[in-house]
Subunit: 336 residues, 6 copies
Amino acid sequence: MKTVCFGEIMLRLSPEGHSRFVQAESFNAIYGGAESNTAVSLANFGADAAFVTKLPDNPIGQAALNSLRRFGVDTAKIVRGGPRLGIYYCETGASQRPSKVVYDRAGSSIALAKRTDFDWDAILDGADWFYFTGITPALGGELPEICMDALTACRKKGIKTGCDINYRSNLWTTEEAGRVMRDLVRLVDVCIANEEHANLVLGIRADEGLTGDAAYESVAKKLSAQFGCRQTVLTIRSSTSADDNTLTAMLYDAVSDAVCFAKKYSIHIVDRIGGGDAFSGGLLYALDAGRPPEDAIEFATAAAVLKHSIEGDCNHVSVSEVDALVQGGGSGRVQR
Amino acid sequence: MKTVCFGEIMLRLSPEGHSRFVQAESFNAIYGGAESNTAVSLANFGADAAFVTKLPDNPIGQAALNSLRRFGVDTAKIVRGGPRLGIYYCETGASQRPSKVVYDRAGSSIALAKRTDFDWDAILDGADWFYFTGITPALGGELPEICMDALTACRKKGIKTGCDINYRSNLWTTEEAGRVMRDLVRLVDVCIANEEHANLVLGIRADEGLTGDAAYESVAKKLSAQFGCRQTVLTIRSSTSADDNTLTAMLYDAVSDAVCFAKKYSIHIVDRIGGGDAFSGGLLYALDAGRPPEDAIEFATAAAVLKHSIEGDCNHVSVSEVDALVQGGGSGRVQR
Amino acid sequence: MKTVCFGEIMLRLSPEGHSRFVQAESFNAIYGGAESNTAVSLANFGADAAFVTKLPDNPIGQAALNSLRRFGVDTAKIVRGGPRLGIYYCETGASQRPSKVVYDRAGSSIALAKRTDFDWDAILDGADWFYFTGITPALGGELPEICMDALTACRKKGIKTGCDINYRSNLWTTEEAGRVMRDLVRLVDVCIANEEHANLVLGIRADEGLTGDAAYESVAKKLSAQFGCRQTVLTIRSSTSADDNTLTAMLYDAVSDAVCFAKKYSIHIVDRIGGGDAFSGGLLYALDAGRPPEDAIEFATAAAVLKHSIEGDCNHVSVSEVDALVQGGGSGRVQR
Amino acid sequence: MKTVCFGEIMLRLSPEGHSRFVQAESFNAIYGGAESNTAVSLANFGADAAFVTKLPDNPIGQAALNSLRRFGVDTAKIVRGGPRLGIYYCETGASQRPSKVVYDRAGSSIALAKRTDFDWDAILDGADWFYFTGITPALGGELPEICMDALTACRKKGIKTGCDINYRSNLWTTEEAGRVMRDLVRLVDVCIANEEHANLVLGIRADEGLTGDAAYESVAKKLSAQFGCRQTVLTIRSSTSADDNTLTAMLYDAVSDAVCFAKKYSIHIVDRIGGGDAFSGGLLYALDAGRPPEDAIEFATAAAVLKHSIEGDCNHVSVSEVDALVQGGGSGRVQR
Amino acid sequence: MKTVCFGEIMLRLSPEGHSRFVQAESFNAIYGGAESNTAVSLANFGADAAFVTKLPDNPIGQAALNSLRRFGVDTAKIVRGGPRLGIYYCETGASQRPSKVVYDRAGSSIALAKRTDFDWDAILDGADWFYFTGITPALGGELPEICMDALTACRKKGIKTGCDINYRSNLWTTEEAGRVMRDLVRLVDVCIANEEHANLVLGIRADEGLTGDAAYESVAKKLSAQFGCRQTVLTIRSSTSADDNTLTAMLYDAVSDAVCFAKKYSIHIVDRIGGGDAFSGGLLYALDAGRPPEDAIEFATAAAVLKHSIEGDCNHVSVSEVDALVQGGGSGRVQR
Amino acid sequence: MKTVCFGEIMLRLSPEGHSRFVQAESFNAIYGGAESNTAVSLANFGADAAFVTKLPDNPIGQAALNSLRRFGVDTAKIVRGGPRLGIYYCETGASQRPSKVVYDRAGSSIALAKRTDFDWDAILDGADWFYFTGITPALGGELPEICMDALTACRKKGIKTGCDINYRSNLWTTEEAGRVMRDLVRLVDVCIANEEHANLVLGIRADEGLTGDAAYESVAKKLSAQFGCRQTVLTIRSSTSADDNTLTAMLYDAVSDAVCFAKKYSIHIVDRIGGGDAFSGGLLYALDAGRPPEDAIEFATAAAVLKHSIEGDCNHVSVSEVDALVQGGGSGRVQR
């Protein structure tokens, strides 16, 4: 299995521990972004994952690239050039205080990239999957077209496509997002969303009167019906505090018309960022490994759960660690 | 609104994370004290806050002063001189192990200050509020008289006064505290206390047989009645472990004879120190902003709750962040 | 009271915070091992504790030795020589992700030690107690014989002996452990175990049909009966996540045929490692101080509970801190 | 004396110690820029210094502002708004490896500022001096006009003006710089430059055949003659390695036609950045304090020398520390 | 150009700054070894470099592997298995105090590797160069034979071979080294040594009476003559303190019978470890790039010089940075 | 050999690296004082060293005590009680900027100690040497009498005494020092001083006209003559910058009337504090080991030189490391 992930990777600057920005005297520096996080997830599972983006040809861009190589992601198709690496500042919340992200990503090398920067035939050569999120076209410029180029090439080559809708209100309006994403999602085989984003971006709501699981089922089925996605997956999170969330997910398989829900987990959070990207990584891995939908959704959910215990954007867990959680681990006893 | 806060600021030396003193190889160095914490809270709300104390004329005293300037507190009236900056060592507890404070504050420049060090007419010029806590007179020496000088000047100038009783058994006995504080509280408009300190220092207990809210109401009314405070405010905390507390508060407005209770919060604690000072900051801010008592007590409580999620003594939150919590936030979802 | 503890001390290398091994750019370096942890516990209680092992004659061995001296453990009988200090890598879990230990202890100076390295007559001179765990003979080589030498010398000299069964599956099989430990435990006065290890190593199971406290009682009585231990103590832990455990314990006194259970605690974990060693330290201290069994088991349990709030292997708490928890503390209110 | 400094302040991100960018896992975060560094220098000398810029209205902008308040710089006239705070990455060289700066300052709030953002009448109210460097107009956009607005206002109000030519080849060409700076320098009273920049930007070269001190004198006199600067000051640095530099300076006073050279220092460098800004701070302070030119140039040089021993952009030294160095200190004996 | 480097990579544990081992509370953790350092050097020059070793199949082995991937080294041929990763502890000296290394490398996965672990035909496929040092066979076990297997395969395939003699007295005696290395060096095209090791290991001394450059020339010519190395290169270092060294080198080309010496540098040392490995990296790069011997020796020497300014084992510099130093850089002026 | 050292140990708070106090966000915390530094030096040489002082009975006092135990110093005779541990803040200078110490030691437990706190008969039992410096009586209160008590007891018991004059102008005037020290030095066998302090405290100056070695000789001989010291030792330091000093020393043996000078070293300084205490440690060790005066002075000087390369107050070097430097080491080549 080889997956090509496409999007933006940024420098993430985080104050130590629970310090607020105005208290910080130093920042932990890691490099992350939705699609690169998923690529690292996949590489950590032992899968062949490539990340495609455009990075400035300076030591900061190189450090971002190196962070991917370190975990085994193929970076050979990354384009170098343009003015800068995007940045996001991230402070970690606690209790009633939410984590806070300040973006400084405008004008990045990837946001200013051109369609001619990417030769999709070459990039997708040998790939089985292509993955992106709604953040990539939201970067603006030629990115919507570039995404369309990629998806079109995938269809031609018979490469499966996955997309996490991932609406970001600070990048575009729901109208803009809807206009662009509707066209893209039509070329997506596996669509990942949550109830809110399905509504905001694609205008899909559960049938009136439905609540709970039935509502989720309704959303997923409509989404697959409207956009032709073979599988629609919803992540279902509830947040009781910055420290404590619950997480589960459901998968609708349009081919078999089957619905399956994952176990629901209560999570004590170390780092909330990248939970969704870890979910995507788990899902793509499990689907490609030929695991049946009911197993794939469990694997994806458990992978996402484990991510919350790990500092940084990326999910540094192995297949066996995820499987252990699915099979009833989670008691957290020391492993010697 | 301009508030003058008067008291001691100390160097706080804290081992990293949950290390005990005997494990520490370094100390995080911040500067805090009850009244300076409140001043920083107010400045972070955008209010005009000055802090008055006496600091040694050496780089350590300068660092303490700078820590206040950094967050916008007016330090122009700080007196320089005397031998040393007080210190408190503070290790962070967890689970069943309490946080532990070791004071090394005797002989500090402020503890040895003289009445002639402070020209209250000049210091209070333009002020709307004066704030101190029971810790300031507890420092001994001429501090009780200096506090009386300040309060007397406030009455003359029509400046409102606030005081948190804040009894510290390692600084004075309840007898000494009672003798001094009774005289001072008579010149206080807004008195903040908890049930225990109201009893220990001012000898005020709920009417027999009363429990719960009725008991708190009884204490507050008696306190206002005996000492003439326009408003008496009680903070109500329960501690289930070093990590987990609940917090609420009540306000009794003697003018309108109204009682209002705040929402009760369950807090997962990052740093317990300064929670009460954040409460005072929130209360003074809200009262001065003309918010009605029932809103002021909610604002103060929410401000104090957020403090517990922040490292250090001071509450680095904005008015809008506090308002968001009052208005139903607290789910801790990442803010992008 | 003087206790001689015998076993291995290792360099523990832990990534910062919750970082996984593959994320680590530095390791916190402390020195710990089951028996040395117990020795430090005892020394922190003000008891006279010596640790005996073999350490390489290089600066790393010296640093391990110094770590013990720092907390008052007598290191005069430590043998110097051999090739290396054993190492264990330890990453801290969270939520559903367990803490993980990677051992690199083979070929250490103590594992290669010879019977002739230890002159037990001299080492045990003046001792009241001898303590080891099942890990020491599990190191292999001549260690089983060396342990037998020590226990035999204790019997001759009338020195009381304590042992924590502490089965480690990565060091030996249950068959090997059973063969060696059965002989050793027969010379042990106070035997500490949990239900699982009593079964795996000594083949002792509760009478069929018994559950809960009755089952624990059954195990302890059988163990004392079969091996002649004056006291058999079981620690009873349940793990709901890497962050949250419950802990209690029971003590069976074969002399008086009395059984006593400790209070059960819910713990929020800072560092799980060394909890059992802290328990042993508390138990030996309390027994030697002549506390009655029902008090000793409470003291040992509370000591172990407090250890979970402390970073590193060792329990840095005082007798008064443990007593305070036993007597109803644990609310975690700041101690000023 | 009150000095208004105008320019850009950036977030400076530096790897720990001598780590290169590609090795960094965290960055020390300080805030610096040529003119704000000079403002901090002046404030540390006890002078009244204000800094004017435009900062984004987010916590990162606030942190930059706070860093100035901390050291006593007046930030009341800083305009808030615009998209982002500029960044510069800075790694510290050693021996034959030079320090390296990567700029990411395009599109910052100040670079996009408008003439209408700054009401110079109000900003300059009460000022004695106005200071900027050639970097400020080099930011492009309306900055050249804004600088001209400020200088024109100064002339009207009789405020003295100082400028460090400070050519930055990555911001503009020498042609662009020459065109803009020639007009601005005509409104400058005290012009600071080095031989290379005087040539590149203003086209001023020593008379042919002159070398050494005579050449510097020639450059300074010509510069004053052509642009009407009352005083022209040249800093004279030689770099033998990233660790070791020599530094001296000369001042030409056009009014008295006097030339004076400072003592030449050999410096072991802790942090090279901000040396020139410290020089400007020292010069403005000494001139305004009415020190004669030969003393002012010594003071400025010694201030710059001390900066090289201090981490970060800013010169945290007092007047008495600079005076001590001028008067023969520099032996570095411990001060107790 | 593709170079296969073969040897051991270890975990390097270093106390912070200049702390001694007995002061350390944490260790910086990097991964280094002679041949892997050279591989990283080459990859940083943009060359294709692979590293071959055997690493334990645990997270610590994975972290070592990741450290190589991060900098672009091909790790696909690394064998996984065996018990442990070797370790070396390294404290940084200063002034008269030397840096100190404590090895804990016995019993590592590579030291226990078998000839059958390495399929040299597959490993060397596509390689232009093979590089190892005298440390690899010094690890003992089957390593001498494995090195011979590799060199024999290289001769068959026409792959050029390079070797740094690198005698380590704590791994083997000069007799053992001589016996093994003499056979291996006969299959080496480019032999790197210093005067001392050439004598100790290969028994080659300058003709009597010769000193200085003539002595070096004599040694190099004899070495090439005796062992048939096309090129013999000597590094020439003098150490005046732990902080200050001088470095130069000479190259003898046996084909053209030409001798060339590099410029001599005075270095202020940040990290001494890996200087020789950086030299090898520079030499192989330059030779393969077809640079003439007199340029290659300058490139290698400048690369080694720059390494001393960089923390850790590896040389993180680019070709252009080395060329800049050769062409007269080294003044250390800040690069903006 | 057993040496009892008597004086004050303080908490030393140092900003990281070269940060100034006003930049510090944390302090490295070590514990040091002149006499305890010497005790640690001796213990690191394998000698039996005890430290006597009075420490507060709180965790901070315990941490100070533990820091001594860690390095093998006997702390059994330390008196516990009194209000506080003295503190000194210490920032590290560089180049022309001197290191700076701010004392906060008034009112410490030892400064307020009483003669009755110390039972010298018991404390000195088994001792061969007693060591103190001029700082101990300078603490005031009863310390001069306590020092006299100790010295008188030494004379009675035949214990040799050593004293470093160590004048501290911030603790007492030269008049006070002279009055107290003259009486004490008369009971000192080995007196250590430098030329300046010998003059300031004891009024001893070289005969007029003498310079260089002859002047030092004159001072030492006079000192021995006037005060009856068997040996007078002068340390001779010159400071060219905060980074670079030279150091040598001379010893005058009054018994044999012999004078010997040590080699002169150029030192690149890591941490200047404690250099003199390391000298005393080396001197006492060498004298007690029976080394002849010319060897003892070399050993002491080399020990002091090595101290400058070590962070913190204490000299963590072994006898063999010092001997190696004396015997011609100092080239700083890596020791493997």
